[in-house]
Structure formats: C-alpha cells, structure tokens
C-alpha cells in the first residue's frame, strides 16, 4: 500500500509539536489530522477514518492515556503510540495493557515512529 492512504492523527497540546510532526509525516506521504487534546481527538476518531494515533499523554483538554482507553471502548482496532514528557505519568506496561502499541519519551526517534506507523498500518490493512 502507499503512504498517502495512511491517515495519522497527531494529538498534542503544543502547536509547535503538532506542526513539525505533521511536516515530518507529510514528507513521508501520510495524511495528517491534528488535535490539541484527548477530547477533541476522540470526536475525530468517532467521526472520520484514522489509521494511526500518535498522542501526548499530559494535556489539559483530555489526557492521552484516557484517550487510549476510550478508543478501546469504541472497539476500534486503531494502533496508538503515546508520548510522555515528564516522569511517572504512565508506564509502558500500562499502555500495552490497555492495548496501546508503545510508549516513548519525548523527544522521540521520529524515524522509528514512522516505521512503526508503516508496519502497524500495513499489517492491519493486510490482515483486513
């Protein structure tokens, strides 16, 4: 499959991060959708097709871990990677236990994230 068939939802309360992640993903050919908090992201997930979610954890308008749990409740088989900035916000095992794909500390390795997106989405699309 081609990358422009992949839509990535970027969730972060900081615009600078949303923008530069977006630029990095666009150069890979992904479609980009952005949200500034968990609540806004949940609405987007409910209303439009998303292939992958990359979300910050600590955000004022709905945290990323709650977003992960809410998405699971919707029974959407949506791969999701969380990013943490501080300490002790949430652990990797907690994220995986809730069905998340992985947890990275900021600043993350963007190449690795792009690979995860490609693999997970391709795998899912192949499986489907």
């Amino acid at each position: 499959m081609v990358n422009d068939e992949i839509t990535v939802l970027i969730v972060d309360d900081e615009q600078g991060i949303r923008d530069i992640f977006g630029l990095n993903f666009e150069i890979e050919g992904f479609n980009i959708v952005k949200a500034s908090g968990g609540m806004e992201a949940l609405e987007i997930v409910k209303n439009q097709h998303i292939d992958f979610v990359l979300s910050d954890v600590q955000m004022p308008a709905g945290d990323g871990f709650t977003l992960l749990k809410e998405i699971r409740k919707l029974k959407l088989n949506l791969p999701m990677v969380l990013l943490v900035t501080g300490f002790a916000e949430v652990t990797r095992s907690e994220v995986i236990a809730e069905g998340g794909l992985d947890l990275f500390s900021k600043p993350p390795d963007i190449d690795e994230i792009i690979n995860i997106i490609k693999q997970s989405v391709t795998g899912q699309k192949l499986a489907a």
């Binding site: 309360d13 600078g16 991060i17 992640f21 900035t85 501080g86 002790a88 900021k106 600043p107 963007i110």
Partner: protein
Amino acid sequence: MNFIKMKYLLKPFLIAALVALAFAMPMIAASLAVFFFLGFLLNSLFVHLKMAAELSRFEKGDKSVQLKDYPRLQNMFFIELAKKSEEINQRQTALAQEEFEKLTATFNEVNEKLDNYARELEAEIIKRTNTINEQQMTIAITSKMAALGEMAGGIAHEINNPLTIISANCIFLKRTIEKGKFDPEMTIKRLNEIDKTIQRISKIIQGLKTLSRDATNEEFATVKIRDIMDDVIGLCSERLKNHGVRFEINLNDPVYNQIIECRQIQISQTFINLFGNAFDAVEKLDNRWIKFECRNLGNIIEFKIIDSGHGIPIDIQEKIFQPFFTTKGVGKGTGLGLSISNSIIQNHEGHFSIDNENSNTCFVITLPTIKKAA
C-alpha cells in the same frame, strides 16, 4: 534641908553609880551593837526570804503579788530585768550574727550554684543554637531538594517539549535534503523555529538558577521587578500552560520597571513557591487560573498572587505559616514553603498576609523599595 542632906547622902552612891556606869557603858554599847546587828541580820533574812517567796510566786504568774509593794524588790527586779534584757540582746546579737553568717554562707553557696547553672545553661544554649542552626540549614537544603523534586517532573516536561520541537525540526530538515526536497525558505523558517525553541529552554534554565544557587548568604541588591518575574515565569509558565492553568500578568505595566532592593533569589523562590501552591490548589478545578498583580504604594510594592481557589479556611490561616504544616498529600508538600517564604519576607521588612476580602485565594506580599537601615 532634907534635900541638901539627901544630896550629900546620895553623893557617894551617885559617884559609885557614875563609876559603875562608866565601866558598864562599853558593855552596854557592845550589847546594843550586837542586838542591832542581830536584828538587822534577822530582818534582812526575813525580807529576803519573803522577797524570794514573793518573787517565786510572781514568776509563777501569781497576779496577787504586787511588785510595787516591794520597792527594793522592784528595784532589784528591774536591775535583774535590765541584766536579762542585756543578756538577751547580746544573745540575739550573737544569734543574729551567727544567723547572718549562715545566711551569707548559704547565699554564697546558692550564688555559686546559680553561676555554675548559668554557665551550664549558656553552654547548653550555645550547643542548642548550633544544633538549631545546623537543623535550619538541613531544613533549607531539604526544602530546596523537595522543591527541586517537586519541580523535576515539571521541568522535564517543560524542557522535553521544546527539545521535541528542536529534534523533530532537525530530522525534518535532514529528510528534505535526503529526499531532494530542500527548500531554502522552509529551511530558514524551521531554523528560526529551532532558535526560538532553544531560547525557550534557555529561559527555563535561567529560572532554575533561583533554585540551584545557595541563597542563604545572598546580599541585598537593586533589581528590576521585571527581572525577578522573568525568572519566575520562565520556570513556572510551561507547567501552568501544560495543565491548562491560565496565567495572567500584565508585564507592560510600568510598575514592573520599578527597582527594589532585595535578595533576588530569595524573592524569586518565594514567588515560585506561591505559584507552586496555587498550581496544586487549582490543578483539579474546572476553572483554573492564577493571577499576579503588582502595585506601587509609594515606598512599598504590593504583590498579589490570586488563584481560582476559594480561599484558605480561617481555622488554618494561622497554621499555614508554621513549619511542617501542610494540607498536601504525603510526599507532595514539605510544609516548609510558606514558613520559609514568610521568614524571607520578614527579613526584607515586608509583610505576608492573606486577603480574606477576596472571594478567591489571595496572598498579599508587601516589600519596601529600599531596604531599611539595619
């Protein structure tokens, strides 16, 4: 005449009688002397015995004995009384002297004990003062460490976010070159973004100096209020923003150009502590904001730190300035922040209070612009 006859007749007898009398005179005189002497002795004995008996009765308290009936006795009694009185006086004087010496000795002893006690107390005070100083230093360090610990998570957040922006921009620029999509205009824009973000981190680090530097022996210096606030905001604003706490401060107000004489790091630490408390108080509220106001009241600057909380309950208002009093959870607050802040403000001849007129939580700090002469 008969008479003349008798005269001659009696004459020899008369002469004889006179001669006899002449011989008998010393005898009579001696007898009389013995008689009177014996009489005197007997009388004296009698009087003395009677006096002794009366005196004995008098001494036993017999009121029927009237001393005036015995002038001599009275006399003797008074002499005796005077003697006794003198004796008593002497004994009293001796006793008083003895007593005084004893008292003096006791006093000296007590005095010496007191002196020793005072010396011991003084030594103990010095020892304890040293201990207190050491403890205070430990508390100051502990408090700073606790503040650092509390902030470490926040600081990680504050620095990791801009680092993410820098890192992702670098990767993006590298990719544009690798993919042959190099765009000078875009590159400049991205490089500016990187530079701006580095400045952001730099401000946070600048703010950190207020926590890392030892402010214990900091000297008073003249500082612009805006410089203090830049450090404080640099350290706190990211944390507030990341938790959706609105922060209001009008740095365009000319009052921020005012110069005050203070220990800058200590004042910054006080504000950071108050912002930290305000943050903890409003973090879980729906309406989250913190406001900072500054007014020039002549030679005094008034600072107000107001948050969207609903005030400090009256019953704990006095306690909150006491060391180790905290309403925060275990491991969250040390209970030292406000007590240290309060002592910092006191040392600046300022005033630290709670404004209960305000419907929100409002701490008021006043500081003189010029340090009063010590």
